[in-house]
Point group: C2
Chain length 252, copies 2
């Protein structure tokens, strides 16, 4: 498979792309490529991918000639931001890796009341750096044109502020799977239109606290059922994203 | 949350359930329960759950009185068997844990031509034991009434024999995500009816070999697209199962 690299918009001209940063090392040392070899460059956040021929490898840049623009659209028709409660072990890593493959637009770690571990500022910075790297790699692997952002963790107040920018706000509430008059995911999608921005909040292992449930509800977050079974916190966002893809890409 | 235990059919009478085996230790030692405490017993493969009161704890059995039969249906309306190629590290464990939460009926490990690791007979037995344990725990966690079976690994010939018992046979083929005239998952679901048995084959990291693709196609396996992005081998079955749940449980 041809190697793919994300390249900032500023590095593109009409006929050439200049690859800089860590990817120079990857192209010249790791992949041992040479002038004449082919790579695919993806213009960040621009849905544009191009097949390119390497014309020169220098210390700080790899210069490439655009051979052909590729028609590719790998992005979900709606922007889904996953607010994932901080949980045990490497759950957040798993969610970001697989959630990126499944098309998430961005991720916000959430310090929930019942989150078992707590991130202080320096831990948070380190963690987010690592999570951003995972998102970048997963994005390349799944051949997307967008790399999901990962923000610093937020608390409930900060989350409620952020929520105002979104068209649709939901939270996955375990009891919904048990309720008789549950709110099905299909009812929820029925009022989502292409291009909308959705915020999905996933609770921690111990579930949301009563205070969180009442504040999310007061801020007009809907609850949805994600099938009949009780899902682990790291499985719920994958179900949601898969269903968005199925509904908006496959069902059409 | 009330603890849940799977109990074989033979252990049920009209008014009582006798819990035996390892669960006796779990109830008496790990959970330190006593007569009068409540547990939920699930009759294996019978969609029946009952709220029970412990009446006696003995060395080899815990005797419980049935207080109330619970109406619960947590099983997918179609039976999905996931044939998962043997891959690197703990990918199969991940698929079985999360695939069970998402409602899979059973799992068959597949020794694909390009599977990176190879299981000999003694390794296979050990692995399958461990995988069965993971399926049982995930099934309890997600409050299902069925524990997915995990079979010993099969090769292509064995797989083609097994396939004859199924109503619908598909394989996830990476190139489908790139094809212009792809076969969408919704087209595929359009001819699946409730109660049908589906066999889904997921390739290894390096993809199916040409020989595997041609033999699966000759045996009337369809290919399907699972959204626009390229999914890792351990993410593909989760997408498929989530979409089955969305389509047959939520969309209705």
């Amino acid at each position: 498979m041809v190697q793919r690299y994300f390249v900032d918009k500023e590095q593109w001209s009409e006929q050439y792309v200049s690859v800089t940063g860590e990817d120079v090392h990857h192209i010249s040392r790791v992949m041992r490529m040479a002038p004449g070899d082919e790579i695919i460059c993806i213009k960040k956040d621009d849905q544009l991918a191009a097949s390119c021929e390497i014309t020169a490898i220098e210390n700080r840049q790899v210069l490439c000639r655009i051979v052909e623009r590729l028609e590719e659209n790998r992005e979900l028709p709606v922007d889904v931001t996953i607010v994932q409660s901080i949980g045990k072990g490497d759950k957040l890593e798993q969610v970001i890796q697989k959630g990126t493959e499944l098309g998430a637009h961005s991720f916000i770690p959430f310090q929930a009341e019942r989150s078992i571990s707590k991130w202080d500022e320096s831990k948070a910075r380190k963690k987010v750096n690592r999570l951003e790297k995972i998102a970048k790699e997963a994005s390349e692997q799944s051949q997307r044109s967008h790399i999901p952002e990962v923000s610093l963790p937020v608390d409930l107040n900060h989350l409620l502020d952020t929520a105002e920018e979104f068209d649709v706000k939901v939270f996955a509430y375990e009891d919904e799977a048990r309720a008789e008059d549950f709110h099905s995911l299909a009812d929820h999608f029925a009022h989502v239109k292409e291009g909308m921005r959705i915020l999905v909040v996933i609770g921690p292992e111990g579930g949301f606290s009563d205070r969180e449930v009442s504040q999310l509800s007061a801020a007009h977050f809907e609850t949805v059922r994600l099938g009949r079974r009780i899902l682990r916190m790291e499985t719920a966002p994958l179900y949601y994203l898969s269903s968005v893809s199925y509904h908006f890409e496959e069902l059409r």
